[in-house]
Symmetry: C2
């Protein structure tokens, strides 16, 4: 039922925008709309009908997973197949047809392929390609109860492996081996895969927000662990920073300032608040500690079928938070040549505030 309802919502939007046909090519959008979880396929809409095009490798999977769209399997590449089908449906239309393509995902080569298939069947004056953005993404931004349930399970699984992963952190261990343990535990607990490349950054490397695990030894100092899993098709994302060896005054102060900023960010989340206000709430705390210049990224992002979704919690983002959105709150402070701290939870936006989904403690762990 959920797929039919989602397809109907998109259909209403397309009709409202006077779009006669649409190509849905982004796999996360396809999964959301009709349930297909494979890696090759195109969903199309044309005059009231949804069709899904794939090749023989995914025929069985498509039949099992897809609801609400007619399945078309062919040796032809799915995009060409979809284009031909739309062309044949629009051939007899009286007015010029407007065909939607997703501007954030359609490449120039894909556009050429679509055009050349359409032109075979239809004079160029009979259709117009219309670049659209966000039609499906706007629906995905608010999660329904079933999606929230999936996300909760992904969050809980990731959190559940954290204590064991911690025990692999020793001065002599490499960042890479800690990542290996963590991913192994996640997989063994049933994770379909990690939701992004695990970050394990130790010592002065903890000041690099996007460090990949290296063969460097953990040594002493901060260790940033940033990871997540996919379960039931939905992502989780969490970050904790611990300290190996002694934590001096400056390190404790840095940690508690970032934690204070994180709690301020969480406290600012509520349906009706602008995304930029939440970012500002956390950033202002870091400013009061003269640490805002070390907070070099945005505060958070939506999470769902993809690890990075709308909304962005950042400077200049006027988008209003709404109930059912799931976002990360992840301030950090990265002091070059010294080290960095980041603390990240996922939260569910509610009418009166938010529910913190990540159950893992944020007290500073010293090992």
């Amino acid at each position: 039922m959920k797929y039919l309802s989602r397809l109907n919502q998109v259909q209403r939007q397309l009709e409202h925008d006077r779009l006669d046909a649409a190509f849905i090519t982004h796999l996360a959008n396809i999964r959301y709309l009709c349930g297909f979880a494979g890696s090759s396929g195109v969903l199309s809409f044309c005059r009231g009908t949804w069709e899904f095009f794939t090749d023989g490798r995914y025929a069985e999977q498509a039949r099992k997973q897809i609801k609400g769209a007619t399945i078309r399997v062919d040796a032809l590449p799915p995009l060409a197949h979809a284009s031909r089908s739309i062309a044949s449906k629009l051939r007899r239309s009286r007015s010029a047809s407007r065909i939607a393509i997703e501007r954030d995902y359609v490449t120039l080569a894909m556009q050429t392929r679509i055009s050349s298939e359409l032109e075979r069947a239809t004079p160029k004056s009979r259709y117009r390609m219309v670049q659209t953005a966000g039609i499906v993404e706007r629906l995905r931004i608010r999660k329904d109860p079933e999606e929230i349930d999936h996300i909760r399970k992904a969050v809980d699984l990731a959190s559940s492996v954290y204590p064991k992963a911690l025990s692999s952190i020793k001065p002599q261990a490499t960042e890479n081996s800690v990542a290996a343990e963590l991913e192994y535990l996640a997989r063994k607990s049933g994770a379909e895969k990690m939701s992004f490349d695990t970050i394990v950054a130790s010592g002065i490397r903890s000041a690099l927000p996007h460090a990949r695990p290296s063969l460097a030894r953990i040594g002493r100092g901060f260790v940033v662990l940033d990871y997540g899993v996919i379960l039931g098709g939905y992502c989780s994302d969490m970050t904790r920073t611990i300290c190996v060896g002694r934590a001096d005054r400056a390190m404790r102060d840095l940690y508690s300032a970032v934690l204070e900023a994180q709690l301020a960010g969480i406290a600012a989340v509520r349906s009706g608040v602008a995304a930029q206000q939440v970012d500002a709430a956390a950033r202002n705390v870091l400013r009061s500690h003269k640490l805002d210049k070390y907070f070099t990224h945005s505060l958070g992002h939506g999470v769902g079928i993809e690890i990075h979704e709308s909304p962005r919690l950042a400077k200049g983002e006027a988008q209003t938070l709404e109930t059912g959105m799931v976002v990360t709150i992840e301030p950090g402070a990265y002091v070059p040549g010294k080290g960095g701290v980041r603390i990240e939870d996922m939260v569910l936006v509610t009418e009166t505030g938010c529910e913190v989904l990540t159950p893992t403690s944020k007290e500073l762990v010293i090992r």
Copy 2:
């Protein structure tokens, strides 16, 4: 030196094609040309000069890794920054400038972003966007000795964990737990990451060429293991199929037919041979066993910085193999409702044939 020489080769091609400027946006192409291994940046060429644009998060990494291009760091998104830089350089040109964009990687949204930045500075009549394909990919297709060395190490690492991974395969184990062991061993051995989502497909699921590991028990029958690692930025890819429990006559025949096809494919590889001939050599063996209808994918693909590169070894591919190409040879036969077998090695094309890089035995293992 290698980066300078690669940049010079691209520059010669651009000049040959009368292109005054170019955007290189595909990260694998960027890495190949100037060494940058991060995940946000744009490399541009304009009138004899190479520039690399990134944001603050990658400034330090860019300075360490990049050779041959001037590094520009800004808060502006790299594509906008690159567009402005090119616009300002072309503003005073006398003739209309031709600007190359990679049609396989530039989305409609990116194209719009580039155009709008150019139009701010330059009248629209003063430049023309030219869609290009394969300018960098054609260089990447033949690997140099240093690249081959990286690939050998990635292949050897993946092969080295295979015997231990085998010992985790038991009837009671889940596909997912076998994948977990395998990836854990690879990571522990120093793999940067897996080169693609590991496939562990058992029993009748082995007949699904793209099965993701599930929580299903291994049980009895074939188990297909298809995995690879990234090491030094280069990918490996291998597949072995084993049998758990008794292998009956039909299973042994299926296995030996696929192995015979694989060996025939390898024997057909040589500099100067068309890719489709190699595919046909393997496919003909399966045909002689009446199994060609169960071989539903192409025979192989190039491997390098990306897991799937040119050339494709498939029907209709006229491209000629050349020394220095590294390709997979991976025939399979998938009998619906029964099970499937795939056997895959990586080989290096030489003047007189090929060198099989994958050292792992292909004798049928029964556990």
